[in-house]
């Protein structure tokens, strides 16, 4: 009986949080707050992929902003220039980024060590140049504006609340799928390879295949998030998809901690809110906000270093300690 209650508890907590997140638009009409929370939802989708890659497969990508951008530009291009429906744009974004992820991951993950970090860094910078120079597709340095709101048939999601529901609905679905993935056979295999690569190999786990699949999933999730972002915001430019953003995504995954989804989601929420602190702290003065914004890179950099040095488990370890107070590591 006690055992049942213990195993049910996480599901109850997750369900309550999901309900709370999805009822926010009913509780507030603050459009700025809803918009900021929508950005959080977009980052939650990307960071779920980063959490699988970093926290479970033990790989780091310094180029996920590029996949985010490819998704955004791909969807914007086919919808605006080719007149495709929005859903087709999202599907294009997911397929293109998954294919890109596969092309990049296959050669780099065959090598031992951290070649993926280097390859993704190079890839991200190439894409930054492409976003700026391929004007006919991307609109050049000024970016692409006038991207229509998400719509299915006659039905257009053109309010802040509707966009919030779209993004967070998608985020909840992504999280549920990811949670299922890490509990299933591939998830156990990922945990095994995080423990010991040779040990996992000895158990008959196809290391390269597994890492490639996780990378493709994370790239496709970033592309999916990019497509959502492009249509919700209506404007995209190369600076939204810079190296800076890739590093911010790494900071979220690192702060979140390994072998966890809840930790990275919490980290994404906190780090995304930092430059928009005035949305949640009423009465925050203009100058205080500007100070926070001018120090956000310092905060991200210090967070990355600090977590790696002093709290290697990140927020996930802290959450686990709260969940099982007797300090038993699962």
């Amino acid at each position: 009986m006690r055992r049942d209650a213990r195993t049910l508890l996480p599901y109850v907590v997750v369900a309550l949080v999901a309900v709370a997140v999805l009822t926010v638009p009913l509780l507030t009409a603050d459009r700025y707050l809803l918009r900021v929370l929508t950005f959080v939802g977009v980052n939650v989708i990307i960071v779920t992929g980063m959490a699988l890659l970093f926290g479970y497969a033990g790989q780091v990508s310094l180029g996920h902003a590029a996949f985010y951008g490819i998704g955004a530009y791909a969807s914007a291009y086919v919808v605006v220039e080719l007149g495709w429906p929005w859903l087709a744009g999202v599907l294009t974004a997911v397929l293109v980024t998954a294919a890109g992820g596969l092309l990049l991951a296959l050669p780099s993950l065959r090598l031992k060590g951290h070649y993926l970090a280097m390859a993704t860094l190079g890839f991200g910078e190439i894409m930054r140049v492409v976003f700026t120079e391929a004007r006919t597709v991307t609109g050049g340095p000024d970016g692409r504006s006038g991207i229509p709101f998400p719509s299915v048939g006659e039905w257009t999601l053109d309010s802040a609340g509707a966009n919030y529901w779209l993004v967070w609905g998608a985020a909840v679905v992504v999280l549920v799928l990811a949670a299922n993935l890490v509990r299933s056979r591939p998830g156990r295999a990922m945990r095994a390879l995080h423990g010991s690569e040779s040990g996992a190999m000895a158990c008959g786990i196809d290391l390269v295949g597994l890492k490639v699949r996780v990378f493709v999933i994370s790239a496709a999730l970033a592309g999916f998030a990019g497509a959502l972002y492009a249509h919700v915001v209506g404007f995209i430019s190369p600076s939204t998809f810079s190296l800076h953003v890739s590093v911010l995504l790494v900071a979220m995954a690192v702060l979140g901690g390994s072998r966890s989804l809840a930790g990275p989601v919490l980290a994404a929420t906190v780090l995304t809110m930092i430059p928009f602190a005035d949305a949640v702290i009423p009465g925050l003065s203009r100058s205080a906000l500007e100070t926070i914004q001018s120090f956000q890179e310092d905060i991200y950099g210090l967070t990355i270093i600090g977590v790696m040095l002093f709290v290697p488990g990140g927020l996930a370890a802290a959450l686990r300690r709260v969940a099982s107070p007797r300090g038993r590591e699962r």
């Binding site: 780091v60 951290h114 190079g122 910078e125 590093v247 890179e297 310092d298 950099g301 990355i304």
Partner: protein, 293 residues
């Protein structure tokens, strides 16, 4: 295309290639000592330029002294970064160290923006203006400085590596860290030394180009990536390969501007990087690095 024009492009390639070589040496020295890619290497290049400008324009020091202050201060930053961040991660887990250098890169460039402002800044040319004519092609005197500084640095590094006890200890450390420790080499000290050398070389590169290209708080990552591509191209961990990689990359970039277009010149280094990673990850001069269980 005439030979004069071709020579002009080759000179430009030599200039950029020298810079990439210095930055690549920084990557390779730290990699040899720690097995880690230092993603903050580009920030040492940025600091070399920015701190020299600060010493020259804000403190009013004469140029040679300002240059010395800039390079020495960057070396100090290298020591502080190694002691306060890298060394504190006791288990030396490569993934953790790589992520720490990524955070350090962001922190250093942001601190530079707070201290020196967001604007581009420049130094005067080291020996006034003026050009030299080489078989019809124009050679800026500053380019001679750049190539000269690189040549002297490489020679100095060669001497250190081959003729001093410290250099031999560093080489032993690069071959096998555990064995080096057993024979009494302080491997932790070697890591610190590698960071000092990497910071110094990066700073020299940043210092030498600032009169031509100006500098700013955010120039680090793009130069870092090119230097890194050069180090990979030559073969990571081997100083001579880093220099060769830098010069080859500079030439390739220059030739791509001459024969293809300048639009995608920044992408050339990265395409080379990906190409080498995929086809020949041990680099041009490296031996096959295939690991055996």
């Amino acid at each position: 295309m005439g030979t004069t024009e071709l020579l002009q492009f080759a000179l430009a390639g030599l200039k950029n290639g020298s810079i990439y070589a210095l930055v690549a040496l920084g990557f390779t020295l730290v990699y040899a000592a720690t097995g880690v890619i230092n993603f903050a290497q580009g920030e040492f290049y940025m600091l070399g330029g920015m701190l020299s400008v600060w010493a020259y324009a804000d403190l009013g020091l004469p140029l040679p002294l300002a240059a010395l202050v800039g390079v020495a201060a960057t070396a100090l930053v290298g020591i502080v970064f190694e002691l306060t961040a890298i060394r504190q991660r006791k288990d030396g887990d490569p993934l953790a160290l790589i992520i720490i250098t990524v955070g350090g890169s962001m922190l250093l460039s942001s601190l530079a923006r707070h201290l020196f402002g967001p604007n581009e800044r420049a130094l005067p040319l080291f020996s006034g203006g003026g050009n030299v004519s080489v078989a019809g092609a124009v050679l800026e005197v500053q380019t001679i400085w750049i190539v000269g500084i690189t040549a002297v640095s490489v020679a100095g590094l060669w001497y250190l590596y081959n003729r001093t006890a410290l250099g031999r200890a560093m080489r032993a450390c690069a071959v096998n860290r555990d064995a080096a420790r057993i024979v009494g080499i302080d491997t932790r000290l070697m890591v610190t030394v590698s960071f000092v050398l990497a910071a110094t070389l990066g700073a020299l590169a940043g210092l030498a180009v600032t009169p031509l290209t100006q500098t700013a708080f955010d120039v680090g990552p793009s130069v870092g990536i090119k230097g890194f591509a050069a180090a990979i191209l030559g073969g990571l961990g081997n100083p001579i390969a880093a220099v060769v990689g830098g010069l080859v990359l500079g030439m390739l970039e220059s030739l791509s501007i001459a024969f293809i277009s300048s639009t995608y010149k920044d992408a050339i280094a990265l395409i080379v990087l990906l190409g080498v990673l995929f086809v020949r990850p041990q680099g041009l001069l490296g031996r096959s690095g295939r690991e055996k269980v």
